[in-house]
Assembly symmetry: C2
Homo-oligomer: 356 residues x 2
């Protein structure tokens, strides 16, 4: 860590760690929190120095704008521990940049890179015993910023809080996913905030997702809001479709989150000699491919869910089942990306980031 | 009030009121809060009895879903005091119903009518000295519900808080508004949450609105996200356009909030013999009307802003100025609706609701 910022990060440690209360062999996703958090306040037009304090309650006035006007953005990252107990992050600067892209779209202040990175590293070094080493587990990291200023006028807040909290976590999904291709509801508008990791994007998905769950699906695949013809993304994952031996994924746009897993998968696949097409893909093309047997795989890709294979999809009251293959792209690509993330393989792309 | 619920509303009063610190002749909008608030918690699948407590800070875990996934809905209402010191609400059951419509779309629990209405009335009776009687002032009322349950999994919260806070307030806008008809950004998607009073809908408007403010406008007029050709609504107002002697406003849809002021204005105007058309209206029709002199008025309508006349609009780098008329529809309709709201006229529509 460079000294300019880290000298200023004050650390207030807990008296007693909660770590002994945690069953690291049965970790849920995102429900157990570590002993400390990083907090940084924006006031009078500038960010204060980050502080590490005991993880604990935040106190807000009932008029705080977060309750009323939805100014909140977040990131999702993971810290991995290898066999030598070294700590690794995966492309963390991309999360840092994306947080600022999200903030800008919601008229929230951007955060200097050093505050994010050095705050995060100091926190991880303090919490390193919390990084699980059980299979498929990692320390899920949640950096977020929300409007903490007060007022019922529908205008941007003058105060914000940046927090990083950490949660030792197991897998996000249990098994393979059955998904519903959405034909009525939508996730984002042209010219809207879909490309931002903004809180409001998620709340809007819950009701349609509940309807899908009631019908026996686990996730909704969103389509464009104008024609419902083109595949966009899922709840917290970008979507890949394999037709014959070509891997296809939608281009990013102002409606789709520019996923770090997505772009890494594209690069790894290309490097493996897999044909990758980044282009619009219509539901009809997928149905046709399913009907003629060329549809081989579908999977979601995201930090939380890593790579989640899809077993089948529903579309207009009909269910389509994907074949059960050996040696899937999903399995190969998942092994490759997690081997890089957990430092089990060489890092030819330069994505791994050592925290020490 | 019926006894079933009100018996259960517990009231914990402040020791010392803050009311003497308030300058009722210089009230800002939504920045001063009364002594008490109503709070009601949803847990284990049900709402607890509403409580009135001193207005004060709310304490939340950093993992509370409001910070991450945008589950928040709200309403905006006003209480008016007449010359006899009687207290009035305007169509409050419509706010109560709309809150539930918003909640449902965000997968949040609906609130029983009695909790809302009797909680609100008990609170207003306690805070009646806070209802201002200075010109254009009222007690702005903010009922809201947000996700207070914890967890980083992107799924609905299992806990919620319903709160009603009150703010003695002056006018929302200063003078006439200069607006920009938006051609790139948008507020809501087909199949999205635009019709809900959801927090995230507002955060998404701030950045484009800031861009408009930098160009000298005060508000953005949103257009549909597919073609940017049809007028939808403004930040917190529905929009009316007068061409010759016909008043036109867009039909409500899943992209547009079903405003209570809007529908009241439609009824009052019709009752006055004004021709009203509820139909899609394109930017081109407005430009043409401006060019040939038939565009007479534009105004916004909403609880906070009441009726806000528009002086002119920008569209594709060009400014269009509206004529300065005597006896505008805006002025007539504003007088009629506020006379009903403040109990200065008969209430032929049955919209006024007495709180006692
Ligand atoms: C809407 C959405 N799409 C895609 C992703 C995947 O992005 P990433 O791979 O950067 O985690 C996420 C999760 O972060 C998401 O929330
Ligand atoms: C987006 C939006 N449109 C319109 C309105 C006007 O609705 P109402 O007249 O019910 O206040 C509001 C404010 O409530 C609003 O937030």
């Amino acid at each position: 860590m460079s000294l300019e910022v880290s000298q200023k990060i004050t650390i207030q440690k807990v008296k007693n760690s909660k770590i002994n209360q945690v069953d690291f062999n049965n970790l849920p996703f995102g429900q157990v929190y570590t002993d400390h958090m990083l907090v940084c306040d924006f006031e009078n037009g500038k960010w204060s120095s980050p502080k590490i304090v005991p993880y604990g309650a935040i106190s807000l006035d009932p008029s705080a704008k977060i309750f009323h006007y939805g100014q909140s953005v977040f990131e999702g990252m993971k810290a991995y521990k290898d066999a030598q107990d070294d700590i690794w992050l995966f492309r963390p600067f991309d999360n840092q940049k994306r947080l600022n892209i999200s903030s800008k779209r919601l008229a929230m202040p951007e955060l200097p890179e050093a505050y994010f990175m050095e705050g995060l590293e100091a926190l991880l070094l303090l919490e390193k015993d919390w990084i699980p080493t059980t299979k498929d587990s990692s320390l899920y990291i949640r950096p977020f910023i929300f409007a903490s200023g007060n007022g019922f006028h529908a205008s941007p807040s003058d105060k914000y809080k940046f927090i990083i909290a950490c949660s030792p976590s197991g897998p996000y999904f249990g098994g393979k996913l059955k998904v519903l291709i959405e034909q009525h509801y939508s996730r984002s508008a042209n010219g809207g905030v879909g490309f931002a990791k903004a809180g409001g994007n998620y709340a809007g998905q819950f009701y349609p997702t509940n309807l899908a769950i009631q019908k026996g699906y686990q996730q909704v695949i969103w389509t464009d809001d104008t024609t419902h013809e083109y595949i966009e993304e899922a709840g917290a994952m970008n979507i890949f479709i394999r037709i014959n031996d070509t891997l296809i994924t939608a281009p990013t746009s102002d409606r789709i989150l520019d996923g770090i897993t997505r772009k890494s998968i594209i690069e790894i696949a290309k490097d493996q000699g897999i044909a990758v097409e980044v282009r619009n893909i219509s539901v009809h093309e997928i149905i046709e491919a399913s009907d003629n047997g060329s549809l081989k795989e579908m999977f979601g890709a995201g930090t939380a869910a890593v790579i989640s294979p899809i077993s089948g999809f529903g579309y207009q009251e009909k269910d389509y089942v994907l074949p059960e293959l050996d040696n899937t792209f999903a399995a190969t690509l998942k092994k490759q990306i997690t081997d890089i993330q957990y430092n089990r393989s060489a890092d030819k792309f330069g994505w791994r980031y050592s925290v020490k």
